[in-house]
Amino acid sequence: MKPVRATVTPYPDGPLIVRGDVELIAGDGAPIPRRRRTIALCRCGLSSIKPFCDGTHKAAGFRAD
């Protein structure tokens, strides 16, 4: 069976939603534990739990374009 490729979807004025088998690695090479199947990565730079999204982009009025 051909493995399904992982996807990264930018959501409108929101995070990058990642589905599928992707390893997250920090700048120092350490793996970032992934706690759920579908994850949201911060795109506005304001999250308190980077690299994950915490919804702060909404209060900040982040626009992707």
């Binding site: 409108p12 939603i17 706690r35 579908t38 739990i49 915490d54 702060t56």
Partner: protein, 348 residues
């Protein structure tokens, strides 16, 4: 400040709050239903001044839905589809839905296109609606108030996600896939210890509270029961499919930022990781869920079935309004120096 935190949790059967809930508890407890119960329901509806804050009616609805969920012990499962009791539920749901439609400000309907609907839902849920329970918890709440908050939350959260799961078989295609994607995460993604209701049970234990479902049902006011009853009504009635989807979207969209503040508040009060884990988990989880719920679930559903759009927006607005009523009840009680819980005298 008065408190009922020491009140004995009732896991056997809730205490009746009037003739209707008493008759229903008796019926489910083995007495069986008869026409008297229909009359009691009709009378309760005729006499109530406010369905949303009516203890007898809200407890009656809570028990009727508990029979469907199987969430309370001692409710005879053979009565789940008893025509008399279904009739009673219908008699109560009609005025309950009308009361919600009266009190919930209906937002303008967006075009039934996926991104337009998602944007409308994010906008609806970002409107500031007065004093914030989460900010109070973060900065000012006492330990006692934090425990009350957990008790109020436990009526839904120890069964978290269940009301919205009723929608799964009623959806198709991309909306169904989106709901299952969210619910799979709610139910722990295959790990029993990560089921969100279980994580909240750990929070209750960690705070020294009873973690059994409905352990504190006698302590919470009608408006708290109303919050769960609204979800249950939207969930179990297929005609309200749009509303349960909209409710979930709004619930997720009003979750990640408040949960960060709840976590901060509980840490400030000295609670440990076993108590804050639930709230920390939801900062990350609901930032994912709100995107899926807004775009892939509610937005896609409105585009695929435009006839559900009004229901979606109503359900979302109902979530914001009703949860706002519960939060306002807590904040106002505390401002008066009182407990937000029912006193044992009233509960008896």
């Amino acid at each position: 400040m008065s408190t009922t935190l020491s009140a004995t949790p009732t896991v056997s059967s809730p205490a009746a709050r009037g003739p209707l809930s008493r008759a229903l508890l008796d019926a489910f407890g083995g007495g069986g239903a008869d026409s008297r119960i229909t009359e009691l329901a009709q009378r309760a509806v005729a006499e109530t001044l406010d369905v949303i804050h009516d203890d007898d009616i809200q407890l009656a609805l809570f028990v009727l839905y508990a029979s469907v969920y199987g969430s309370l012990p001692g409710l005879d499962p053979r009565l789940e589809w008893d025509p008399q009791l279904i009739e009673v539920r219908r008699l109560l749901e009609e005025p309950f839905e009308s009361a919600l439609r009266e009190v919930v400000p209906m937002p303008p309907l967006p075009q039934p296109a996926q991104e337009t609907v998602a944007a409308a839902l994010f906008s609806l849920t970002s409107a500031d609606t007065g004093p914030s329970l989460s900010r109070h918890l973060a900065r000012k709440a006492t330990r006692e108030q934090a425990l009350e908050f957990l008790i109020q939350r436990s009526i839904y959260t120890l069964r978290e996600a269940d009301p919205h799961s009723w929608a799964i078989p009623r959806l198709h295609g991309r909306a169904k896939a989106a709901l299952v994607e969210i619910q799979a995460d709610e139910y722990g993604g295959g790990r029993a210890d990560r089921v969100h209701a279980e994580i909240f049970a750990k929070t209750m234990r960690g705070a020294g509270l009873d973690d059994r479902y409905a352990g504190y049902v006698d302590a919470v006011p009608a408006v708290t029961l109303c919050s769960l009853n609204a979800m249950s009504m939207f969930g179990v009635n297929r005609r309200l499919l749009g509303a349960i989807v909209g409710h979930l979207a709004a619930f997720e969209m009003t979750s990640s930022i408040p949960n960060r503040l709840y976590g901060e508040g509980l840490r400030r009060l000295g609670f440990g990781e076993e108590v804050t884990d639930y709230f920390d988990e939801h900062v990350e989880a609901d930032a994912v869920h709100e995107q899926i719920a807004g775009h892939d679930l509610a937005g896609a559903l409105a585009e695929d079935q435009p006839e559900l759009l009004a229901g979606i927006m109503f359900g979302a607005a109902a979530c914001v309004t009703v949860d706002g009523l519960v939060a306002a009840h807590m904040l106002e009680s505390w401002r008066r120096g009182e407990s937000s819980l029912r006193s044992t005298e009233v509960a008896a």
